[in-house]
Symmetry: C2
């Protein structure tokens, strides 16, 4: 089991590897909770509930998984359930599931009695390398994704790689796109490993996987610690997300998994990067090739005009100007505003035609 | 206009007095907002909307006032309205109303895109001396009050005493009970002023009122700065609130104004103080007399047993043990746990029989 420290205030540890779950009891005991509440989905509980229960006696709260359930009414359900089951200010929430569960359980912990501790136990690759780390929590509105939420750092993250074995292949690949993102924006070596070890990664070779996940977590940990509340630095983590979020919103969060939408977003960002003179064509090609190799991706069926409209209403749009994260080269990223509209339009049309 | 600084991180100023509203434009300009959103109730907008509009061009969002509307569905309405009207991360919320509006608008600002700045412009006495200062925001659940929320300090507070002129007498008196609370827990001199100047205070003499409000704000500012996230020190602000919240919950937030419920709670706390040997009988009598003098209070019609049950499910109950704030003498307070059940029961029965 590898341990990576995230140096926020307070700092916390991410445990990564086979049997990382065995470190959960110690992580929870340190918080001296009055009660422990595991918030999870029926599916995760079916597969791994017994295993978690062996480690920690807890109260359980089940919620439906899926972006369409990541809403304020679900937050109300969770928090009412916490009251009914006797949660108080000294209680601890364990978020046990993928990104959606982690975001909702994290937001419930952030706001229940104005904040109780949360331990993230991510069960998807996406959540292990991204969502569970960094303290972003929240829910969607019909108007867009993650529009209501809070920064609430977990007190510990337990990423047990065994749980990835039961992950559907499509979801596993969706998580790998976020790993590609980490390499693209901040770790050229991780990017090369993903190019070289593609077959082992896709076969879920536990050894390669642990080191690849650890590298991606390290990227996120470093950026989050330097910028806890999403100032400029942290925004590079949104590489691929401007267009990605628009694709998700357009299809009502149903057509794409988050990682898939981000993958399309990275392809669009690569094209914007080249056409705005920020990125060399050969680096863009390497990036697009790697994404395609970890595919297939569901085709983009939306009208370009509709996607462009949604980009305008994105959270990352400030004072009416959309901002894009671009990668000047593999392993480096920066935020760019003032991209000419035709360049954005061409990139969006490009992914619609692929 | 008096100015009191609240030394949180970042610190902010509370402006108190006639025409304090004229300081709003400068307070907002300092934040360099993309847009300004005033969240208010129809009634406050009717009385004071034009006056505020003269100072600040803004988008308006109206929500129904009253504890029964301080819910997650209303939060959803507000945040969706923010999206529709084009609020982004650089937008600023102005909370323009009483405690309920301040709590909801503050919580909306705390969670919209994971947090945008809020300026509190309280229009009730209660909100001016208490709710608008200190960063507590949130909504109720059917199970209890303020169970979901966040700490989100305002960037400025503008307490214009002119708006108190249109306050219904009952609401004005309800606010005075919180001023009595401030005196009782931390300012013996303020307490004496309230005893001595009762007639002028009740006649809303602007001079006396300004100094009394400033003293109460000073108490809150000092405590909040020393304890931003409600550790032990800040809990003394909850004097009268353990029983008070139970009374409000029992009557579904309809029978009592918050200040009235706190007044009953302070009477109960005085009796608990005496019967547990923490408070001298003559100090308790002074406190109870002052509360009665600023009355009348609506009678408590609930069954004592029901109130006792609700005390058990209060946020301030930790590991099953209710905590009470008691005043060893006028102007000093401490948190006490382990009060014997019969002592609590006797105090609750006492207020039911008054």
């Amino acid at each position: 089991v590898k341990t990576i420290r995230v140096r926020t205030k307070p700092p916390y540890a991410v445990a990564i590897g086979e049997d990382a779950l065995s470190q959960l009891p110690a992580a929870i005991d340190r918080l001296r909770p009055s009660k422990v509440f595991v918030i999870t989905s029926p599916r995760v509980r079916d597969f791994w509930g017994k295993e978690l229960g062996r480690h920690v006696p807890a109260n359980w709260i089940e919620v439906a998984d899926g972006e369409q359930h990541k809403t304020l009414p679900t937050l109300e359900r969770i928090t009412r359930e916490l009251v009914k089951q006797g949660a108080d200010r000294k209680s601890v929430v364990v978020a046990f599931g993928g990104g959606v569960i982690g975001d909702m359980a994290g937001f419930a912990a952030a706001t229940y009695m104005r904040g109780i501790p949360v331990v993230q136990v991510p069960t998807t690759l996406l959540a292990q390398v991204d969502a569970a780390i960094g303290g972003k929590t929240g829910v969607n509105l019909p108007e867009g994704k993650n529009l209501v939420g809070a920064f609430h750092q977990p007190r510990a993250v337990i990423a047990d790689t065994r749980v990835l074995e039961t992950l559907p292949p499509r979801e596993f690949r969706a998580g790998l796109f976020e790993v590609i993102k980490s390499g693209a924006i901040a770790d050229a070596r991780l990017f090369s490993t993903l190019e070289r070890e593609r077959d082992k990664v896709l076969a879920r070779d536990m050894g390669v996987l642990e080191s690849v996940i650890a590298a991606a977590v390290q990227v996120k940990a470093r950026i989050v610690a330097a910028d806890e509340h999403e100032g400029d630095l942290r925004r590079i983590l949104n590489f691929g997300h401007t267009v990605g979020h628009a694709l998700e919103a357009e299809s009502n969060y149903r057509q794409f998994l988050h990682g898939e939408a981000v993958a399309w977003g990275m392809i669009a960002a690569a094209e914007i990067g080249v056409n705005s003179g920020v990125m060399r064509a050969e680096d863009a090609e390497r990036l697009i090739d790697l994404i395609i190799e970890y595919g297939p991706l569901p085709a983009v069926s939306a009208k370009p005009r509709r996607i462009l409209m949604l980009i305008q209403s994105d959270k990352k749009t400030m004072r009416g100007v959309p901002h894009f994260v671009l990668t000047p080269k593999i392993g480096a990223a920066k935020v760019v505003s003032g991209i000419a509209s035709p360049v954005v339009r061409a990139a969006v049309e490009g992914i619609c035609q692929r």
